[in-house]
Subunit: 221 residues, 2 copies
């Protein structure tokens, strides 16, 4: 019985790791759609979001069943609860990738981003996809150091995000209010995506160390 | 034993309902700080956010203890899990009120909002505070109809939020990019706050009916 139960727990972590890969793919494609004004790719991300939602529902149902049937305690209980939280964050990351894709679609065939800010979004895109893939590693390895290493990447995203504000608010910004609004919202989507990735990793640290990560404001606006 | 357990469950719901009231107060004050450029009130919201974070940590620890010690099943298990999710959403609502307060502080002694958009924020502020207080009712009463009634209020917030975009993107917007960026971010904070309130209510419906509320995109951008 306990044996089968640990297999189920492993399966659950595997499904969660799979979610990380899916949301990384979604954001990678959404960023490409945004940078290249690629409508087909944007539509693909939009169409695939339901799959991420299904994965989350599956993770959650599986976690509920484990709690109801096995009544885990100690580390096993922590693991199941961490998975429930992490699945919520990962689904939200999928939603944020969806928003990026929708912005690309909304402006098509125009580019949503004026040329001067494109490199920032390229870099943020690469950084957040790396973050999502690193959550996959952390879910599998439960390595505390790997989890902490996400924070440096997240800081880089915050830095670019802050810099974007100075770009759009500068006197020589020549692309008007609508482009500034797009940049504001899109920048925030990447920043929140990165925050959620860090939050997933923190939950996994919690499982490994039994110590609650800090609550409170996990973002910087 | 089971008797004491139901008392604890009641207590947990009571703490969660208390969180709803706290985040409603926070957003009410933050909105007033924003509309009146009231630095003292903004500082108060900023200082009080840690209390909301503590309440959430308390709810969560209490829920964890219940799961570990009592291994609830069926409706009781659903209730505890709904509380864990709802506490996360409520803490996030507190963070969003904090962001509004910080925006008011950042622009002080100036007003963060140009005159023409102030009435929209006043109305959104009233609507979202009502939403937060309604989640308190739903947590206490677990009334499905009351939970559903939040959606109409949320639709109104979405409508104002969408309208704000047309105001700042109109040709006669005379307040420049920085004010448009503030309006964009602030509008989003209210809209997300409302979404989280709806999500708390949905979780409570789940407890009452045993039927999973719809997953997926709970917002409209």
């Amino acid at each position: 019985m306990r044996e089968a139960y640990h297999v189920e727990l492993e399966e659950l972590a595997g499904n969660l790791a799979n979610m990380s890969v899916q949301v990384a793919n979604a954001m990678e494609k959404a960023t490409k759609a945004l940078l290249d004004a690629d409508l087909g790719l944007a539509e693909q991300v939009i169409g695939d979001d339901a799959k991420i939602d299904d994965l989350r529902a599956e993770c959650e149902e599986q976690a509920y069943a484990l709690l109801a049937l096995q009544a885990p305690v100690a580390t096993d209980l922590r693991t199941v609860l961490a998975v429930i939280h992490a699945a919520e964050s990962l689904e939200r990351m999928g939603d944020l990738a969806l928003h990026v894709a929708k912005a690309a679609r909304r402006r098509h065939p125009e580019h949503a981003l004026p040329d001067p800010v494109r490199p920032y979004f390229q870099e943020m895109g690469e950084a957040v996809v790396k973050l999502a893939l690193r959550t996959e590693e952390v879910i599998k390895s439960k390595d505390v150091e790997a989890a902490r290493s996400l924070e440096a990447e997240d800081d880089r995203v915050d830095e670019i995000h802050r810099h974007l504000f100075s770009v759009i608010m500068a006197k020589d910004w020549e692309f008007g209010v609508p482009a500034a609004v797009d940049v504001t919202l899109l920048g925030r989507f990447y920043e929140r995506y990165a925050d959620h990735a860090v939050s997933v990793a923190k939950r996994m640290v919690f499982v490994a160390t039994g110590k609650m990560p800090g609550y409170g404001s996990d973002e910087d606006v």
